[in-house]
Amino acid sequence: MSERIRVLDELGIELDRAARRRLASRRRRVGAPRRLSLAAMIVVLLVLAAAAAAAVFISSGSPLPAPRAQDLESGGIPLPSTVHLAGLDVADPEAGAPRWDLRLSRSSSGETCTAVGQVLDGQFGIVGLDHVFRVLPLGGVDVCGFAAPGGPVLAGARVFSGSSPMEARTVVNGVAGAGTRSVTAYGPEGARELPLGPDGSFLAVYRGYVEDIRPRVVIVTGRGTTRTVSFAQSSAFEAPDPQGGAPWQISGGPDIEPGAYPDENCVQANRVMDHSNPFFGDTAEAPEICGRLATSPLFVMMRRFVPGDGEGSGFPWATTLPARSSTEPRRRA
């Protein structure tokens, strides 16, 4: 009997664990509805409707503790007398969930500070993964900053994890400064002009993780200048997917296969990692296209992918994927 490779066995244990986590949850997700009787489905729908209408599943817990004073810089502690809600009152993508707001304050050193949270029964807090609402401490802030000439005071994207990707939230927020004319947020569903609160404060809530949404905000200042702030943008060449979600990226390099010409280059499109697609690995890698840049400074391939296509090609287009057309260009630098 040949000697066992220990590290391979250890990797096998890790993969086995991951398989049990993933495939068991998939079985529950895929199989459960099929076993429901009509009566059971009606009961489930009634329960879901009640939950959506009244958010009865959210209970209240103990307030979150304030940070220890010695952990804070003296200049970064918000003055209690300056703390107030912006009153933005932004709905969560999930009907019935507490609405979102921004808490503004000023620190002893004159910085503007913000904290993102939700409002329930007049209190400012956050709903945890356990569906318990907890009040955020008065001294708790996400970020503080000074006003910059001609630009926003603060702009950021806070991500709140969820037990599934669709439960995660990305909250784009900031303080654009007094006199700001408009703030427009761009996300998967397109442009959204945001209502402005005190000092040009703004907030937009998206379902999912920031790297899937890749939001940006365009701020038009009081003087008419435009500032764009992008979050989780990649330097790779990317194109948005027509149905939103993860964008597509393109990568290229010299062809190193045996028999390739020295000037032969290849390019390939694939979908950027997508938290919202639980079967990401099924997808979404187009076949490489190659061309000789010395003889042809630009080559372009247009392809149409149809669900279920390409069996046996090494790049089957899964039946779970929608049809897509792609254009993959490469040109001499």
């Binding site: 391979l8 991951a18 495939l23 079985r27 062809d255 190193i256 045996p258 020295p262 099924d282 090494g314």
Partner: protein, 180 residues
């Protein structure tokens, strides 16, 4: 047998073959181990499709994915671990005994000798270009600046050098994989 059992059985059956396949291409056990983990992570996330295939088709699919991961590794000079990270898979560290055993099963000693021999037959310009790009992992614009040539010429030197090495290694790879 449920899906998780079937996936684990696939790993038990093909894991070593994939690791040897990648070790013979990367000449580096630790890199090959990471690529193997990513290959099986992709298989796991694609299980809905794979579960409907016959054993031989699954094997072909697995090695196609492994080859593409290797190609991507060569182009980017780094291992992608996106799905490994997403699935929470911790890649174990290979000890000295494991590395020796895997190198032995992959016949790496013979391959390294062949690589060294073929490398010495390349022009000094190609050797230098390969060293800068592959060993030092420098971007092409830096390779070009160091060599005093255009970026396209630097890419061509690296490409030609790698192709020459690949041609030399192909019989060794084929012999090693034919027996697995």
């Amino acid at each position: 047998m449920d899906d998780a059992d079937a996936f684990s059985e696939l790993y038990q059956r093909e894991g070593e073959a994939v690791l040897v396949f990648l070790t013979r291409r990367t000449l580096d056990v630790e890199v090959a181990l990471e690529l193997t983990a990513e290959t099986f992570a992709i298989a796991l996330t694609s299980w809905r499709k794979l579960s409907g295939l016959a054993d031989e088709q699954r094997r072909a699919w697995l090695f196609t994915v492994a080859a593409r991961r290797f190609g991507r590794y060569l182009r980017r000079a780094s291992v992608e671990r996106r799905l490994v990270a997403r699935l929470g898979i911790a890649i174990p560290c290979a000890g000295a005994d494991d590395i020796a055993l895997i190198e032995q099963r992959a016949g790496l000693g013979e391959l390294r000798t062949a690589v060294g021999r073929e490398l010495s037959l390349l022009s000094s310009e190609q050797q230098r270009a390969l060293h800068l790009r592959v060993v030092e992992e420098r971007p092409y614009d830096e390779v070009a600046a160091t060599l005093g040539v255009s970026e396209q010429a630097a890419r061509a030197r690296v490409s030609r050098g790698l192709r020459a090495l690949a041609r030399t290694l192909e019989p060794y790879r084929a012999a090693g994989e034919g027996s697995s």
